[in-house]
């Protein structure tokens, strides 16, 4: 993202952020692009690395012994704005959380925008502001970036890819393959809020209530958790595919089974009601501000207390136990008193008819 604008102030009209629209010129590498970058992106994300205006960010090496972790995530969400957030803050939180659940300290973000010709600059500005706010709040600056414009009809308004760099302290080993029989399974709060907020908005379902996305950066919560229990074995953010998919991934990676207690799994009543209406299972609905933690049984209570003491973990709950099962089956005791599997989803979860 080159910032040195060849545009001399006073000779050009500033970007019309109120009524203007993205046009092909904003991606053509000329004056219009330079203007977009300096007046919108650079102004919003301003920090010492980005402000240098080079095409790369030059960053200090991490502390001796730390390892570098990198994560990248493309964000394509429709609608772009939803109760509780928008694609901008989501693109920050998503990548920050990918780093955080490895136990890494998120340091920097790179952002790449694909804009569709005709997209209102006012909405773009809203998205960029929200992103800048999220990145400042998380303390993880956007230090470099890129912008491309595609013809009308070839994009969905805005796509954002964010890449994050973090530092992983020596000796910290958190990973999906570490779960062991007897371990406790914890979640940080109610499930399905993000996915249901999006779906309610997209299908313009007339719910009485506002279901808001839970999108949030989790590294603060993770830091507190690791301080209380440094030996946490697995952390994962159950995004697309929800809790069910994430637990199946971990069970497969670790070669263990899982035994869940449905009555203990927190679900917001409005999310449950909306799921019911659409014939969806909240266990498979996406989250953007929740995490799953697996730790030794003896550490579970301490970890749970720490989570609950944090604003993002108030409704944390212990929802089950890791079992010895070479089939890697995730099972659940239903609130009704029976048992079933919580299997991988086949395809995308679609609303049921009849």
């Amino acid at each position: 993202m080159s910032l040195a604008s060849p545009v001399k102030k006073g000779y050009v009209r500033p970007l019309d952020l109120k009524h203007g629209r993205v046009d092909m010129g904003h991606g053509a590498g000329g004056r219009a692009m330079a203007q977009l970058i300096s007046e919108l992106f650079a102004a919003a994300f301003a920090n010492e690395h980005l402000d240098r205006g080079d095409d790369v960010a030059v960053l200090p090496a991490p502390a001796p012994g730390d390892r570098l972790v990198v994560a990248t995530d493309a964000h394509v969400v429709s609608p772009l704005f939803f109760p509780g957030g928008d694609i901008g803050c989501l693109s920050v939180h998503g990548t920050v959380n990918d780093l955080a659940v490895m136990g890494a300290r998120p340091l920097y973000l790179a952002a790449s925008f694909i804009l569709e010709e005709g997209f209102p600059l006012a909405e773009l500005a809203r998205i960029v502001q929200s992103m800048a706010h999220a990145s400042r709040e998380a303390g993880v600056p956007v230090v470099t970036g890129d912008t491309k414009v595609v013809e009308q009809g070839k994009g969905d308004g805005v796509f954002i890819t964010t890449t994050g760099v973090g530092a992983l302290p020596a000796g910290r080993e958190i990973g999906g393959a570490n779960a062991r029989p007897g371990d406790a399974i914890l979640v940080s709060g109610t499930l399905g809020d993000h996915g249901m907020a999006i779906m309610a908005q997209r299908e313009s379902l007339a719910f009485d209530s506002e279901i808001a996305s839970d999108t949030a950066a989790l590294h603060g919560l993770v830091a507190a958790m690791l301080e209380a229990v440094p030996t946490i074995r697995v952390l994962r953010d159950p995004t697309r595919g929800g809790l069910a998919t994430t637990l199946n991934e971990i069970a497969t990676q670790s070669g263990v089974g899982m035994d869940l207690d449905e009555a203990a799994i927190p679900v917001h009543p409005q999310v449950a009601a909306a799921c019911e209406l659409l014939g969806l299972d909240p266990l498979y609905v996406a989250n953007e501000g929740k995490l799953i933690a697996i730790c030794a049984a003896e550490d579970a209570e301490r970890l749970l207390a720490t989570m609950r003491a944090h604003p993002l973990g108030q409704r944390a709950a212990r929802i089950g136990t890791v079992t010895a099962d070479p089939n890697a089956f995730v099972q659940i005791r239903t609130a009704f008193g029976g048992r079933r599997m919580v299997d991988w989803l086949s395809g995308e979860q679609l609303p049921r008819i009849c």
Binding site: F329, Q331, A335, G337, S346, L350, I353, C354
Partner: protein, 383 residues
């Protein structure tokens, strides 16, 4: 989970389970078919099987509209959408993934450029046609008696408002004929060879057609029918009522779902349906083959809104895999694990037969929710 309401109360379920265990005669076996996919879903989703004594077995019937839709009908929609770029196909989400011929599905056809959209109701499809006057909008209608009245309504509306760019590809099917086919199958007819001791009657379907259409099965075939709601406690209560009937040698139609079902059903809805639709002489069901008078087609006065007539669509039958045991499973003669293809060749990602298509089908329900029971070491696990 916090939506445990009065119909899902675990403590009540435990009490009902005790009552069922008390009433079920240990000296005999009970096999009941829940016809409807909604019940199959409730049984699997809440683990109802675990609350039943070992001698009470539930058989998952053919009542999932997506599962029984023959491949050839989806092919019709896909062929139309691919051949005519001016056509938009709208359908319920469930239909999108059903595998069709040539490795396609509506979802995959969409990826190849066909304009296929998911809607929540027939009315949404008509609204789309109004919004896009220069496109041909075709509603791919599926479902049992429950979803038929809304389709009939939009057909009437389309006619009244003169929406020439809207039409319906009608795949609506009828519950009683399917039950009849199961009872008429040779295995079930020869008394004793198939343990089918009674039916749980559909919930939503019965709100439309009422409880009367089932009287015939109870009388003619000596099979008790209990109409039940879709909540797991409804299902358990119905099972208890069926056990009682069997024990007492009765075969009657009973209604557990009195909060919604009456003997005559919804007469207004029935009138609209018969104004717009008439029975097809025969219709192919996936898993049951041709079933006489088991589906509806659009009546002559509405031919201009009948996609089959409008676009000259032909049905070509496409057989399931030869090894597929769906037919036998739907009749209660076999269970999913009796099929050689189960879980190996045939999985929810790549279904070979109808029972694996939607999670309300017998094979998919067992695969997704219950296959841990097939593995001894895991089945023995307790907490």
């Amino acid at each position: 989970m916090k939506y445990v309401d009065e119909f899902r109360d675990g403590a009540l379920a435990a009490k009902l389970a005790e009552a069922i265990a008390r009433e079920a005669d240990p000296g005999r076996r009970y096999a009941f078919m829940e016809f409807c996919g909604g019940h199959t879903h409730a049984i699997s989703r809440y683990g109802v099987t675990d609350l039943l004594p070992a001698n009470v077995r539930m058989i998952h019937g053919p009542g999932c509209p997506v599962c029984v839709l023959p491949i050839g009908r989806i092919d019709m929609a896909i062929r139309l959408a691919l051949a005519r770029p001016d056509v938009t196909i709208c359908t319920y989400g469930d239909c999108l993934r059903v595998p069709a011929s040539d490795g396609l599905s509506l979802l995959k056809a969409k990826a190849r450029g066909a304009d296929i959209r998911m809607v929540y109701s027939a009315a949404d499809a008509l609204a789309l046609a109004q919004k896009m006057p220069d496109r041909e909008v075709v509603f791919f209608a599926i479902g049992f008696e429950t979803t038929t009245p809304p389709t009939a309504l939009v057909l009437r509306q389309a006619q009244a408002l003169g929406h020439a760019n809207f039409s319906v590809l009608c795949n609506h099917v009828l519950t009683p004929s399917a039950i009849l086919t199961i009872l008429e199958s040779p295995e079930v007819r020869e008394l004793g060879t198939v343990p089918l001791d009674g039916f749980i009657g559909p919930a939503h379907v019965s709100t439309i057609i009422g409880s009367r259409p089932y009287a015939f099965f109870a009388e003619e075939y000596r099979k008790p029918v209990v109409i039940a709601g879709f909540e797991p406690l409804d299902v358990m209560q119905a099972i208890r009522m069926l056990i009682r009937q069997v024990n007492e040698g009765r075969a009657e139609v009973e209604n557990e779902f009195t909060r919604a079902v009456t003997p005559d059903g919804n007469l207004k809805a029935q009138a609209i349906v018969s104004e717009v639709f008439e029975p097809r002489r025969s219709f192919e069901w996936r898993g049951l083959r041709e079933v006489p008078y088991s589906a509806l087609r659009i009546r002559g006065p509405f031919a201009a809104w009948d996609a089959e007539a409008k676009f000259g669509l032909e049905f070509v039958s496409v057989p399931d895999n030869r090894a597929c045991e769906c037919g036998a499973i739907l009749r209660g003669v076999k269970t999913p694990t009796d099929c050689k293809l189960f879980g190996t060749v045939c999985t929810p990602e790549n279904p070979m037969g109808s029972c694996m298509v939607s999670s309300e089908g017998a094979c998919a329900a067992h695969y997704n929710y219950g296959r841990f029971r097939d593995v001894p070491v895991v089945a023995g696990m307790t907490r």
